[in-house]
Symmetry: C2
Subunit: 546 residues, 2 copies
């Protein structure tokens, strides 16, 4: 029997359009053409100008042959061209490939070749390393220099040489703002490419689509609490999961991007006080920078500022310091493969009345799925059976839904493995609490196995963070003849504070089973990625050497 | 050449799930099981219970044979079963058909037959008319009575007889909360059916899909400014475009539904004061009810309450009265075919400094497309050419995007006409102002043609509303031998106010060209639909008779 609800009721141009974040910028520019879209140094770009510049960029790229499936690579700081590229490149139906600006020449070269890059836009902050990379590549992209007129007088190093065949502004000038941009022909089409910073082997190219980017824009707006004309400070690198998709997100509410090339306390406070910033994102290290800033760098502000943090659970001292300083902290969790954050620590009002350490414990949990994520679970990856919701039984965190990547570019094997059984396997280990909230316990490779017992390095780090002198710490396993592995702790102390190895181990014993306590404590600077994540593989190397 | 971005990067269960609002309720129930989802009289239903009751309803319906493409009809007030039906019916992959509770037996019978209704859930407020309708139908649905324990002691009439074979609670009790609900197998699948209240011919059945309902939930959340745990008062009938999709929308933010069977001032103020209502929706008549309420019915409240209005531009006196009473008014516009509102009067902060009448003029404009609507334009329907953005040139308002209906059920001809040229033809006439904002001028059938000149009945009504004694008015054309048509005004005066026909015509002459002024003024009660829309076809009938 035919179903009348599926008969003569097909998709057509009037009732079906591909989801794409480009439509949000078009709408913002049409509705609020004179509202401030971008602040960067002395530059002020309205939504009308942002739209027209993106069109010109798209037009110029299209004239130079960029079209569907072509890669445009960028090595850019948090500056206007990076925002324009987030719209201008997809308007050509091309794909935006953002390079992590801290990468070395060899990895840049690998990515450019793997992505078959046709155009490469480079900020002159990074021209030296890119020049080295281009000596190694097979591809020979059109290289475009971005010569930032607001590079900053406090730059730690001067701009590098021009290495391209034209400047970014000259490229934009080639284009027309009458460019007939088109919706993607399918919302499943690729919009962006981001390589994971894999610690072993070659990086994998994570592909996002228009559908996911548009849905992230909605859900970010809702979870971050963005309203019409909010102001967002760019402390999170835009090359990192496309800045968690906030370059696209802000267009929904016609909010203002406040750019920031270097994440420094004074500049952050100035932006908050001078530009009315209401939202920013970053790893806990950015929060530490804010609250540990010298008084001379701090500024007063009256608005409540929402800080969305991810990468590690915010420590108690950081949370209370942030609250005192006028920030509301939301804890998010996600991976490059999930467009950035796709899990949110949804806060229950009654938790406000808990004492500080209990509140921190609630805040440390990663939480529940984003509205835009259809499934989040912790399973035994062998049996694909969900773990009981007991807060104890560990399993692998798995994701399912429309804000999970298309897959890894030109790497079917890795994609198939990642999607085995119809769920994205994150490689993270976690538990589900009785109330359904996810808590990470570790990356599977970060678990320390000592005498056959699993030790969660996060649990040991949590104990260390409770010591008043500890500013930062990381715990890894060290080979041990008897136990297999034992925990070794790397610790940074707060300025002016002291603590001995014995004192810290003793402190841990008051909180942890003895076998979980660090066997060794090393006082040293802890290596971090450009996005503030601690690089445990480096510590493991150090532990091997030690 | 193959495009690597479209190779080995296909949809699978991990990275693609059909969009559906059911996922939002599941998430709210998992995250905030103890938060209040529904208030109705003395009843309090948490999100956990809302979810479980929806599952039981779905399970019971499935056991009785409801599945993909089957219609479940409901004749319900704004009560908990109506909310449960919005989730429970689609959980079976069935389609929810909401009957306008003011319809007569013949139209109800037509709809039940046309929709091939399998189950009909009826509030006992409406059992008499439904019983009459069932005598006329070919279909013989399972009839379920809803016997509301909170019917209200102030009911204007007692509950009707039981006419069904079981009570709603007995049906729900048949189901299991372990029901294995499934995502729709395609987000294009139908979720709801709403008949237009066409003034000529049979009503047309507008079909919504899961994709549109989910996207409306996001965009309603953003445009209405709903936040976590907002509270929403049900003044808008849920049978009207599925209550503008707010039954689904509130699940995104785990907000509270405050039910209301009868829209009366005292009950509205009580809900606002006692349940912390932050949002409500309705036609301007609801705003008039609020601000013209006797003091004894009013209550103080401290929160700002957002009132989303549609159906007619809010008059100046209503806007200033609402502002004084603590309400923020947002003007929306849409049609049944666009899931309710899909156009929003996005407010510019600088308009706050305009004088009251200029502010009202800005507020009277329908505005710009919802974030979820991809296209909004005014075109000459013959040539499909957009009108110039001059605020003068009239054309037909047209929509395009994912919150436009699938089409009309079993009416291919009407669907094809409505979607001609890849745009949904609304039948409304409007202009686009130089700033891109849409303003309606009239329904095409409401235009009065006098001496070959078009007269916008809205323009004449606007002039009448500026007279201090006019409470409500409507202008239609009356046949005239010389001029073809002349305008006739129907007017309701405010309590205790007076105005003569001559005085009102003279008033109009100070504001309008002489040929636009009413030739006749009739003081009479103006017929309105159940949702507060003025029924001009009835006035035209009256004008013919007069």
């Amino acid at each position: 029997m035919t179903n009348p609800y599926e008969t003569d009721l097909d998709r057509n141009a009037a009732n079906y359009q591909p989801l794409t974040p480009i439509a949000f910028l078009e709408r913002a520019a049409m509705t609020f053409p004179d509202h401030l879209a971008i602040v960067h140094g002395a530059q002020r770009i309205t939504y009308g100008a942002f739209w027209r510049r993106s069109l010109r960029l798209a037009s110029a790229l299209a004239r130079r042959g960029i079209g569907k499936g072509d890669t445009v690579s960028v090595m850019l700081s948090n500056t206007p061209p990076m925002l324009e590229a987030h719209f201008g490149v997809p308007m050509t139906r091309g794909v935006l490939h953002s390079l992590n600006t801290r990468l070395d020449a060899a990895i840049i070269a690998f990515q450019l070749d793997h992505a078959d890059s046709k155009v490469l836009i480079v900020d002159r902050e990074f021209s030296a390393v890119v020049q080295d990379a281009l000596k190694l590549t097979t591809v020979k992209p059109l290289v475009v220099d971005f010569d930032d007129p607001d590079y900053g007088e406090d730059a730690p190093h001067p701009k590098g040489e021009r290495i391209g065949s034209l400047d970014y502004e000259a490229l934009v000038a080639e284009g027309s703002e009458d460019f007939a941009w088109q919706m993607p022909d399918d919302e499943w089409n690729a919009i962006a490419l981001n390589y994971t910073s894999g610690t072993t082997g070659n990086p994998k190219g994570v592909v996002y689509h228009h559908r996911g980017a548009a849905l992230m824009a909605y859900t970010n707006t809702i979870h971050a609490g963005l309203r019409q004309h909010s102001a967002y400070l760019w402390t999170l690198p835009m090359f990192h999961c496309n800045g968690w998709c906030f370059p696209w997100t802000l267009a929904v509410t016609a909010s203002t991007h406040v750019c920031l090339r270097w994440v420094r306390a004074r500049a952050m406070y100035d932006a908050i006080a001078d530009h009315g910033v209401t939202h920013l994102c970053g790893a806990p290290i950015v929060m530490s920078t804010l609250i540990n800033a010298p008084d001379a760098d701090k500024r007063d502000f009256s608005q409540t500022v929402t800080f969305n943090t991810a990468a590690a659970p915010p420590p108690e001292a950081v949370l209370s310091g942030m609250a005192d300083a006028g920030f509301a902290v939301t804890h998010l969790y996600g991976l490059t493969e999930t467009y950035g954050p796709s899990v949110v620590n949804e806060w229950h009002g009654e938790w406000d009345s808990l004492d500080s350490s209990a509140r921190t414990a609630k805040k440390a949990r990663q939480g529940v799925r984003y509205a835009g994520l259809e499934g989040l679970t912790v399973m035994d990856p062998e049996t694909m059976t969900p773990v009981p919701h007991d807060g104890q039984t560990m399993g692998e965190v798995m994701f399912r839904g429309n804000i999970v990547m298309k897959g890894y570019l030109k790497n079917r094997k890795a994609s198939d493995e990642a999607f085995a059984g119809g769920w994205f396997h994150s490689g993270d280990l976690g538990v589900i609490h009785p109330d359904g909230y996810l808590q990470l316990k570790d990356r599977s490779k970060d678990i320390i196995i000592s005498g056959g017992e699993n030790i969660s390095s996060i649990e040991v780090e949590d104990a260390l963070y409770k010591h008043p002198s500890v500013a930062a710490c990381a715990v890894v396993g060290q080979a041990d003849e008897k136990w297999g592995e034992t925990p070794v702790a790397y610790v940074e102390l707060k300025p002016g504070r002291r603590a001995s190895e014995e004192e810290l181990v003793e402190h841990c014993r008051t909180l942890l089973a003895r076998f979980k306590c660090p066997r060794t404590v090393v006082f040293a600077e802890i290596p971090k990625t450009s996005t503030g994540k601690i690089q445990k593989f480096r510590l493991r190397d150090m532990a091997k050497g030690g």
